[in-house]
Homo-oligomer: 227 residues x 2
């Protein structure tokens, strides 16, 4: 979300962003105290966030305790899918048309999660490569999924999203032969935006590469809980 | 774009939207007087808007005069591509991080288009299924592209976008065998959101189905200029 080019709205933006950053920092401190790691997972619509989560959670759930918050504008199809496919606690956040989540909305969601029974909470953000990148949700890390059919030029076109993400999963690598997608070119575009971002190619449908994401999560959660 | 759940922001939203609707109506009236048809083309990132436009314009440009405005947050790759591939006038609108275009921004773009030499101007909106749907740009019609890899459930998850579009192009039908995408199911979801929307399946890469979109545009432009 960005304001219109009008002074009144620019003022609002500043106050909202400043307040949100403070809310997000407070939320992170609370999560640290409670030993809960929150991951904010973002992507375009249809990049495969839910399928990726199902594959990941089924590999993780015997090792750590996981819960999921599915943000969606209107439907609850994702939360139902996650619950049926993994058996873990999964709640749906309806944003009521809102294009992103901020820290306060994330907190409202977390109030409905049994945090004492969770090591990792994954927030599946609204499918949108623009607005969610602008709001700190209070998550420990931001991760995103870029899927092969979207094209390898997306880091050039959605720079902020790639800048704020610590991890980029490149999904649907099984269909790479049918699309003009150059993995090395994509990685170099991502590095231009964010030299520190890790990139993990996966295929959520077959499970290829998902173990690397699982290992990244286990390291992250372990480090968050012990440091 | 939707406001935060804070009174101050809700007030802003109302005034911005009301003003925008008026601006949009005024812009449409002006375009009617000038005999220029403006199409607002929306979609997710990577659905194939630019490739679709290239295929379409190359079939249209000997029949009517076309110009393109490419909206992008930061890059100019699309405007360059269109110009090189079609030879028609193409300008890039940088939104400076903005997640959508409103009528005033559209007008700023049109000020840089030679409208006396155009029958049809296509506005390629920011790649985003959420926010652009909320702002009337002043276009005569809204069209959108949903690509097969995004999934057939998107009308359930992004209801407003499908409600405001008069035409839905379903792109990348060549890769349907590799994805779990049911065209009839998708059409029925679209009809739930918008019984009047036309649906045209296409493959922008091969050109399949593009003639139907060209014919739709020719009818639309002709009707706008003569009624």
């Amino acid at each position: 979300m960005q304001p219109m080019e009008k002074v009144k709205v620019i003022e609002i933006k500043k106050s909202v962003f400043a307040e949100n950053d403070k809310d997000a920092d407070n939320l992170r401190k609370e999560l640290r105290t409670k030993g809960v790691y929150l991951l904010n997972l973002m992507s375009s619509p249809g990049s495969g966030k839910t399928t990726t989560l199902i594959q990941t959670i089924n590999r993780l759930k015997d090792k750590i305790r996981v819960a999921v918050m599915e943000a969606d504008i209107d439907s609850d199809v994702d939360a139902v899918k996650i619950k049926e496919a993994t058996g873990i606690p999964s709640i749906q956040l309806h944003t009521g048309g809102m294009c992103h989540l901020d820290a306060e909305m994330t907190r409202q969601g977390l109030d409905n999660v049994a945090l004492e029974d969770a090591d990792l909470v994954v927030l599946e953000n609204v499918g949108n490569l623009v607005c969610p990148a602008e709001f700190d949700t209070g998550a420990v890390r931001n991760a995103m999924i870029l899927s092969v059919p979207e094209g390898d030029d997306k880091p050039l076109k959605y720079p902020l999203m790639f800048s704020v993400c610590d991890l980029v999963l490149i999904n649907k690598i099984d269909v790479m032969p049918y699309f003009d997608f150059d993995l090395e070119r994509c990685k170099s575009y991502i590095r231009q935006r964010n030299p520190k971002a890790q990139v993990i190619p996966i295929c959520a449908k077959t499970g290829e590469g998902v173990d690397a994401f699982v290992q990244w999560l286990l390291n992250e959660v372990n480090s968050w809980k012990t440091n």
